[in-house]
Point group: C2
Chain length 133, copies 2
């Protein structure tokens, strides 16, 4: 993966906020909407941007689209390094800390098949709806 492309993905505040949240685990669009307080189009478009450039993967789960960072093995060295760097840096800046706090408070997770999480009954409802496959 070319280095510039990574930075092009990182050079927008909304995208940084999305990635920052994804560093904690998979999430679906409505989670981002809730945490960032930004309109659906905006979120969806930025996720699309990240997706086409390989910084994020997307899998459908019923009505929802679950976004996640590529699994560790699938990350280029550049991507891995920059994600680590982002995580460190974001920990020091207010916006990102606030987002993480809000995420934690809401207990939102789209962990793959993690029965835990998403307990608060938001979207991406747990096992009940998707045991068939």
């Amino acid at each position: 993966m070319r280095l510039v492309q990574i930075y092009q993905c990182l050079c927008d505040e909304t995208r940084l906020r999305l990635l920052n949240l994804l560093l904690r685990g998979p999430l679906c669009v409505c989670h981002f909407q809730t945490v960032l307080g930004e309109p659906q189009v905006k979120i969806s478009k930025h996720l699309g941007y990240l997706r086409t450039r390989g910084l994020v993967t997307a899998t459908r789960r019923g009505n929802w689209m679950v976004y996640a960072l590529p699994e560790a093995a699938a990350r280029s060295p550049e991507l891995a390094a920059n994600l680590a760097c982002l995580q460190d840096c974001a920990a020091e800046q207010a916006v990102f800390r606030r987002d993480l706090a809000r995420l934690a408070r809401l207990d939102l997770t789209c962990g793959p098949i993690q029965a835990g999480g998403a307990a608060s009954g938001g979207c991406c409802a747990p096992a009940k709806t998707f045991p068939k496959k």
Copy 2:
């Protein structure tokens, strides 16, 4: 320094190449022109961009402008982290390696008052011209 601003500086290939070279030490515009093989306007404008955003400092030395990274003490944690990350990543990509190779081969340096370097007599001529101050 806001994180996005750093990434905005890093999201252009020319700027990445400039910074990659600066990680080896101060240089002046004509050095960049030689190594990158890009026209003067382009180099100068991108250096200006980096300068106004605090990623680079500039000091005049006679006819030449010497650009450098802010000294270690003056770097925000975010900047420090990202420069380190860039240095690592750039070491793995062809463009940047080629630039560094060319830089080394030409032995170009604008080290502050380093009597060594710039031996090949390019620009930024050593002590002879600037002993007066």
